[in-house]
Every structure is written in structure tokens, then in C-alpha cells.
Symmetry: C2
Subunit: 410 residues, 2 copies
């Protein structure tokens, strides 16, 4: 008889068991339901118990049982009684998230710049800070120091509990390992294990993800994708990327790949992209293309042209600008058409410099998209521009933490 090792029961290699969805236990169902209810609350905003019961198709009793402990715990707060409806009745008291309890830290990491904010559960920025580092910096320690101190600037001074840190990275990341794979223009960030390193320094859970996916999360939780079950959140500026929300959840490919829609091939015979391949969408719908074409057309300040100035030129009836503006709209539409043909999300939310083109650009893009897809019962896809000056990426980084922590909110 062999002795059982002190470390625990003898390990026996299990039969090769494929990972499978777990079954739900009553206790697990409670966890799931608490999480879902909080999701619903985010979707609909401050809402009374009775209304939540109607939305989630359960009884008021159940809602009360779920919500009351959270109120006692300080996560949720009960608002002032609202006006009764004209039919009378006890006035409803809306439930909403605490504006101070358990905030999250949101970080946006760009080549040379880091931006950090303390974000409340209600989705508003409490404190903000930013710092710069040399984009050519190769020493990981220097970068980590910079990021850490920027975060510490926004941490609550009273040392109150923070849920975690969410990081949006403007480059390719491995979400499984919390590692940055590559960031254009910032070679020093390549290979940086930002997740584990930050987590160790701060003693907080850290989640990081690809910028357009974080942006999509921001749209889903706090922006115009709020109640949409599927949509594409596109960033279009100096580069192009997409975050896909499919059936209410942000889609990640294996280990966090995917979303590189800027480097899908749309023009086989086209020009060479900075990625080394030929005919990427980015070669016909990013700043680089805009500036090259503007130079050819002889537009003023062509080599620094962006969408806003181009729109103004086009609005002033500058013939070359008008023509370029329209081609830009068509080129932006190409990638959207392809996404719609493949996935048919039905809603496209555009961010980045492209929104500087305003309603005029949006309408043109929409027209080209509608021209480019067959009429189908699914209905015409909607193209919307995000507001130009929002913090949706920071809010998305906060949502990144929330989406992983909701079940920790007891």
C-alpha cells in the first residue's frame, strides 16, 4: 500500500476529457442570475424592482431577494421615489449603481502615451491622469514604471477597494497571457507581459484587450450599442480595427486574435500595406491613403490631412476635395459591406478620426453600403458615428473589468 503524498490525494491522470459546458446547480443559477440582473440594470439604466421583475420575467420577490443584499453592501443604491403614474400606486424607487463604491481603473495604452482614469460603477470618470514615454523606449521596466505611476495617480487616496484594472492596448495582444504581442510604432511594447506585471505591482486583477474590442465593450455597456445584441464597433483613423459584439458578447478569436479588419484584403491589385501585404482595407481607408491621394489631387497641407479638414474643404466646394471625400466614403463602405455580408450584425458604430467627417460623411458611407449589399429581409444595416469627444475606450476598459467581475459583486 503506497502512502498518500502529503500534498493531497494521489493525482491520477483523468481520461482525456474535452472541456464542456458545465451544468447549472441551484447555487450556480443564483450566481448567473445575479450577474444577469446587473447586466440588465446596465442595459436599461436606473430601474425599480417591479420594472426589473417585468423585464427579466421573474417575480418581484426574486428581484428583492437579489437586490437587497447588494444595497446593504453598498454596490447598489436606491434612488428617490419617482412620480407615480397617472393611475396612482406607490411610487417606484429606482435602483442604480453606487457612484462611489468599488470603482475600476481604466487604462488606454498608446504608442508613447498612457491614459488612466478611475471610473465609477455608473460609468463616469472620477479622476483622470496621463503620462508620456518615449515611443522608442525599449526598456520594459521604464514603461511599466510609467504606467504604474499613472495608475497610482488616480487610485483613491483613502485606499478604498478597487475592482480591478482594465487596459486597452492599441495593438495586438494575447488575452490569455495578458501579453502585448506587437504595437505599431512602439517596438518596446512587443512581448511586454503587462497583465501579470501590473497585477503583481498593484495587487489588483488586471485585464487587457485589443483596443477596438475594448471600444466595442464601451459601446455595449455605456454607448450606443447598449441594448443591441449584435453590432460592429469600428475604429477608423490612422489605422482600422473592429470589435464585434455577437449575441451580446464581445467576440474574441483564439487567444484574443481577430478584429484585424484593417488588414483584410479588399484590393488584390492594390498598394502595399505597412503590414507587408497588398491591398489591405487600411491601404484605401486610413490617413495614409487620404494623405497620399490629397497630395496627388494637390490639396493644401496634404501630408497632414485628416478627415475633419477634408470635410470642410469639401463643404467649401473645393472640387478635388469633394471628389476625394466621396471616394473616401466609398472606401470606408467597402469594409463595412464585407462585414455585413459575412456576419450581418445590422449595426455599425464608427469611432476615430472618421467621425470628424460628420453627418455628410455618414450619409455617404451609408449610401455606398446600401448600394453594396443585396436587399435582404434582415433589413438595411444602420451606420452610426460615435460622438467625437467621448471617453468610450476608457469606459470600455472599465467594462472589461466589470464584465469579468460582475459575479464578484456578490
Amino acid at each position: 500500500m503506497t502512502e498518500t503524498p502529503a500534498l493531497g490525494p494521489r493525482y491520477r491522470a483523468p481520461a482525456r476529457v474535452p472541456s464542456a459546458p458545465r451544468l447549472i446547480s441551484p447555487a450556480g443559477a443564483g450566481q448567473v442570475n445575479r450577474t444577469r440582473l446587473l447586466q440588465i440594470l446596465y442595459d436599461v439604466g436606473p430601474t425599480s424592482r417591479a420594472q426589473l421583475a417585468r423585464i427579466s420575467r421573474v417575480t418581484k420577490t426574486t428581484i428583492g431577494a437579489i437586490v437587497q443584499p447588494m444595497i446593504d453592501d453598498g454596490i447598489l443604491v436606491e434612488g428617490e421615489p419617482q412620480q407615480s403614474s397617472s393611475q396612482g400606486g406607490k411610487p417606484a424607487r429606482p435602483i442604480w449603481f453606487s457612484p462611489v463604491d468599488r470603482p475600476t481603473v481604466a487604462v488606454h495604452l498608446l504608442p508613447g502615451t498612457v491614459r488612466a482614469a478611475l471610473v465609477s460603477l455608473t460609468g463616469s470618470v472620477i479622476t483622470e491622469s496621463s503620462a508620456n514615454f518615449e515611443a522608442t523606449e525599449l526598456d520594459h521596466d521604464v514603461i511599466i514604471d510609467c504606467v504604474t505611476s499613472c495608475i497610482q495617480d488616480v487610485l483613491p487616496s483613502d485606499g478604498g477597494a478597487v475592482l480591478g484594472v482594465g487596459v486597452a492596448v492599441g495593438g495586438i495582444v494575447n488575452t490569455d497571457e495578458g501579453r502585448i504581442v506587437e504595437v505599431n510604432l512602439a517596438p518596446g511594447l512587443a512581448g511586454l507581459e503587462l497583465g501579470p506585471l501590473l497585477s503583481r505591482r498593484l495587487g489588483l486583477p488586471v485585464h487587457l484587450d485589443h483596443h477596438p474590442r475594448v471600444q466595442a465593450l464601451g459601446d455595449r455597456w455605456f454607448g450606443s450599442g447598449r441594448r443591441a445584441s449584435s453590432f460592429a464597433s469600428i475604429y477608423c483613423g490612422e489605422a482600422i480595427g473592429v470589435g464585434l459584439v455577437i449575441d451580446g458578447a464581445v467576440h474574441r478569436g483564439v487567444a484574443g486574435a481577430g478584429g484585424e479588419v484593417g488588414h483584410t484584403i479588399v484590393d488584390l491589385g492594390g498598394t502595399v500595406c505597412r503590414c507587408g501585404r497588398t491591398g489591405c482595407w487600411e491601404t484605401i481607408a486610413s490617413h495614409r491613403w487620404l494623405q497620399a491621394e490629397a497630395a496627388i489631387a494637390g490639396l493644401p497641407a496634404a501630408d497632414a490631412l485628416t478627415v475633419g479638414p477634408l470635410a470642410r474643404l469639401a463643404g467649401d466646394d473645393h472640387a478635388g476635395a469633394e471628389e476625394l471625400f466621396d471616394r473616401f466614403a466609398r472606401n470606408v463602405a467597402i469594409g463595412i459591406i464585407n462585414l455585413q455580408q459575412i456576419l450581418a450584425p445590422g449595426l455599425f458604430i464608427l469611432h476615430g478620426d472618421v467621425v470628424q467627417g460628420g453627418e455628410e460623411l455618414r450619409e455617404r458611407v451609408q449610401k455606398y453600403v446600401l448600394d453594396g449589399i443585396p436587399v435582404h429581409a434582415g433589413g438595411a444595416p444602420a451606420i452610426t458615428f460615435a460622438s467625437a469627444d467621448d471617453d468610450i475606450t476608457l469606459l470600455g476598459a472599465a467594462a472589461l473589468v466589470l464584465s469579468q467581475s460582475l459575479d464578484l459583486l456578490t
Copy 2:
């Protein structure tokens, strides 16, 4: 006090409530768990209660409680006791689906041809039948008659209970309404409300979907996508389409749109597609392109060339064929690259005439795909060819019914 109408409680228009995920009740959890367990059983094949308990991370007790009523009901059967492991122990009795109880009807509708089969819960074809109609036929009644009689040929003669009818349509469908929107080469099918009409004639639930999505379901349930949580099932022959499995579920766009990857734009300056737009993937990777290029290259029988003969010509060191074969591989890779860049499913299962290219073609496609995507921690995507003569679409049509009916299997 107004009287309550006889039809039921007075209907009161609810406050505009956004559709939201329901919370899970204990009873609902049971339903979900039964369904999940059956899904797991499909994924892993015949399996003992104890093994199922390990896979689904619940106790043997629970599995027994779920499985026993289904055995009593005849849906599941207990196999012969297996050999004990070398360590001894009571021999396990694998549980599996009944090969005769509650079969489904699978239908594949193509321009001019309909194929029907009776498929068992175990995923094997019990009976099969096919019929032809004029592809130019415009009378809906004639088509429905043809489909109905083809189905009745395979219905069990003893009138045993059939779960339902699944239909794969080689064209655009509206899955919400069970309506065919458009089928290339068969204008009479456009607008046909096949779902409701068949359902009324047969008295059975009918589900229909776009062919590549049905094919993906077949791969997911009975093919090489069986345990994969995400993959793309591509049909590539006279046309190109894709069915996407994302997180274990087949993705449908709004009302069943999406999957039209053949008409994504990959070659802006290219040739005009039969869809009327320019530069679709289909214009460079379907039969039409192959035959046009073969004619230019002076290959024999160019106007009826398909992939199999081309592969043989190339294998015989026919210079023009070899070069065309390679370009075809590259062109097929283009669309796969784009899908991988956007969604990174990590696995691509190819069906249709393209598989006639054999391992030689598969390797070339894989090489071009790997050349066309950045190295990323997610790992290199796998490209696989389905076996040439399988019934995966019919099995997928059966799975279409199963996936909607699992919770009806008590």
C-alpha cells in the same frame, strides 16, 4: 368592474420592455441541463454515466436522474457493458441515442433537385429519396408538391413520431419567417414560404436555413467540427458561402442574413460578379473563374473544368494547369485570410468541389493562408478538407431540427 373576456385575462399593453435574457428558475435550470447533457453526449459519443459526470462536472447522481427518464422513454439506450479497465471496477455501460426512436427528416433543396432523408438521432441516414423539378418552374404549388412527396417517401411507414423537418436551401433565406428570399438559377423559389407551407402539409415543425450554415451545423454535430467551439465551414464550388460556428453556436445575422462570404469584396479593380458588384471573392475562386482562366491558358475542356480534373492535369505536369492550380489555391486562401483576420476561428473546414483538389491543394491553400496572416500567439489556423462523399449537409439539416428540439426530448 368590467368583465374578463372569455378568451383569457384582459390584455394590458406592457410598458415598452426591451427583450432581455431571462433569469433561470430551478425548473428552467433542469431544462437547460438536460439539453446541455445531450449536447455533450453528441460531442463525445457513447459514454457512461460516470464519465458524463466527470465531463459535465456534476455528480453521478445528477446524471442518473437526468438520463434514466430518457432511457425509459426510449430516446437513449444503454449499451452492452464495456471491458473494465485494468484496475478493475464495475464495467461501464455506455449511453447513446436510440438508432430508431424519433428520427428527423433532412432536406436539401437545390435548383431543380430536392433530396430528402430520414436521419436517426445517432446521425445516420435511414432512408433516402430524391426528386427533380424544372429549375425554371415558377408555380410554387408544383415545387411544394415535389418536395412534399419526396419527404413522404422517406417518412416511416408505421407513422412513428418524427421530430421535425430540417431544410438546407442553396440560397438566401429568411429564417425568421421560413421563407426563401432568392435562389440563384431557380427564380421560382424566390419568395416561397417553404417553412409554413411544408409545416401545414406535414403537420410537423419545419426549420430551414442557408446551406453553408446547415453544413456548419453538420460539421459541428456529426463532422470534424465536433468538439471545436469556433470554426468556419466553407462551401467552395460553383459558388462560395460560409457557416460560422462561434462559441459552439452557429451564427446567424439579423433574420438569417450573413454567410455571404462569396460576395465580399477582395479585388476592387476586378471583374464583375454575377451579383452585379465588382471584385467579389467568387469572381476569383469559383468554377466560373477557373473555367475562364483555363480557357485563357488553353487547357483541354476548359469550359467544363472543375477542381478534380485540374488537379489531375497539374499532377501530370501540365505547365498551364500547374500554374492555374497554384493561383486557384492562392485565391481560395484570400477569403480564408480575411475570415481569420476578422474572426480568428482557428479552424476552417472546406466542402464542395474544392475538396477534389486533394491534399496537394489543401497544402497550398494552407501555405498561402499562413503567408497571409501575421504570426500571432493564437496559433496558426488549421485548414481541413471534408471527405468528398459525405452527407454532411443532410446530417446538418437533421442537426438543425435537433438543435431546436433537444429540449423537447424531455
